[in-house]
């Protein structure tokens, strides 16, 4: 509240009609293997930065309140909710999004392929987050995952379509396939 007032006071001091002054921040990070530099408003959420600045629209916003997991990306190799992470906090770090799992035109990542094969999606809205969460899970817990473990680990990912059954099947199969491709 106090800050909004300071801004107005600044504007009044300098010129009669001035666009609102924004405190910009320079960031440089690696996104899907490529270095990225940008000058952003520190309020920018990581998901906004990915979707709006970099046009990587595979990462979705479902709830915007850290509940649904549609926005999950990897930050330094770990799954995080990008709707609850400030882009400035990712400065100097490495981000991987669903677009970074397999190059355009190349064969799908084994986890993506497993979702396709086992009908792990219907509308597909939750799928990028599900897959990024699943790949993180395999990185942490290995290739032999019980249904119970998968369900427990999907605590932070919601799907309104599938009833989860095929998502669980897909992840179990994708985890095994990742062992072969590794």
């Amino acid at each position: 509240m106090t800050f909004g007032m300071t801004i107005n006071a600044c504007a009044a001091d300098t010129a009669a009609v001035q666009p609102k002054r924004v405190l910009m921040a320079k960031i440089s990070l690696i996104v899907n293997g490529n270095p990225v530099n940008a000058n952003i408003d520190p309020r920018t959420l990581l998901v906004q930065f990915l979707r709006e600045n970099l046009r990587l629209t595979g990462t979705h916003v479902g709830c915007d309140t850290s509940q649904c997991g549609a926005c999950v990306v990897h930050l330094d190799g770990k799954a995080v909710k990008s709707c609850t992470t400030l882009a400035v906090m990712a400065d100097g770090h490495e981000v991987r999004t669903i677009e970074g799992l397999a190059a355009d035109g190349a064969p799908l990542h084994p986890m993506q392929e497993a979702f396709r094969e086992h009908h792990g999606l219907q509308c597909g809205f939750c799928t990028p987050g599900m897959i990024m969460t699943a790949v993180d899970l395999v990185n942490r817990k290995g290739h032999d995952l019980s249904d119970d473990v998968i369900r427990e680990e999907l605590e932070g990912n919601l799907c309104r379509c599938t009833g989860y059954q095929n998502i669980v099947t897909s992840i179990a199969a994708g985890a095994k396939a990742m062992a072969k491709s590794a």
């Binding site: 930050l75 400065d91 100097g92 605590e155 932070g156």
Partner: protein, 267 residues
């Protein structure tokens, strides 16, 4: 979200100076409480001081007979730490049950304690184990640190640097999750310490985390779930909301304390 200036100090001292210099500045660690609150415009700090890049502030180590956890250690760090698993396995289990995997990769012990959410898990562990909260200015006993709903003894320019947990003989935490939010509807941490027994309850109290002294007295005589038969918690001072009545929460305190004692003795 309102505008703010972002600062990334390299040391606690720099962070503290930024807090002193900039009125209403706030520290941010994992951001998993503060960012949502700022999005809702319930907080609008003009300066954010990011603690997450201060080297060593997330260290986990044994110092003498205490387990020392750095303020920016994430829930995942604590859950996976071999040191924590050996020293106080109940604490690692507690951390592995916070939120979901993505939340655990960001949320920190310091942030959780500074926030003192009445349904958070860590406050129960800190109170039951009799931990000491170390800041850039002083050391605070758990009892003095927690001061009711979302409030603590921390001053505006005070930063938690680490938490020191004396080792218990036995301990266990049992959380009864709210079906929607997965926070604790009620959570009970039982610690059999060299000198006494402590039972700390989160999720239930309308004034935040508290100790269930009637259970503690009984357990001091004999540390067995059997001695708890016939002892019940009073619904007075407990929360009543759409998730559960005060009576239901009081009932859960009894059930979870028995289960926690059983779990602690089974270890």
């Amino acid at each position: 979200m309102y505008e703010f200036k972002y600062h990334r100090p390299a040391t606690v001292r720099q962070a503290a100076n930024l807090l002193v210099k900039n009125e209403d500045a706030k520290v941010i660690a994992g951001g998993h409480t503060l960012v949502p609150v700022m999005k809702q415009r319930l907080a609008s700090p003009p300066h954010l001081v990011d603690l997450s890049h201060i080297e060593g502030l997330n260290a986990i180590e044994m110092k003498g007979r205490s387990l020392v956890i750095g303020a920016t250690a994430t829930h995942a760090d604590v859950a996976n730490s071999a040191t924590v698993r050996e020293a106080i396995p109940a604490l690692a289990e507690l951390a592995s049950g916070i939120g979901d995997p993505a939340v655990r990769h960001k949320g920190t012990i310091g942030g959780s304690l500074a926030n003192n959410d009445p349904t958070a898990d860590y406050p129960a562990a800190v109170l039951a184990l009799g931990a000491t909260i170390v800041t850039n200015k002083r050391r605070l006993k758990a009892e003095e640190f927690f001061q009711g709903l979302f409030s603590t003894a921390l001053e505006n320019d005070e930063i938690i640097t680490r938490v020191m947990f004396p080792l218990p003989k036995k301990a266990a935490y049992i959380k009864f999750r709210n079906q929607a939010s997965r926070y604790a509807l009620v959570g009970v941490f039982v610690a059999r310490r060299p000198s006494d027994v402590r039972v700390a309850v989160t999720g239930a109290g309308s004034d935040g985390v508290f100790r269930a002294t009637a259970f503690e007295e009984a357990l001091k005589k004999r540390f067995s779930h059997k001695v708890l038969e016939g002892i019940s918690a009073s619904p007075e001072g407990l929360n009543s909301d759409l998730h559960g009545s005060a009576e239901y929460r009081a009932h859960l305190i009894g059930v979870l304390t028995r289960r926690a004692v059983e779990a602690a003795t089974a270890k």
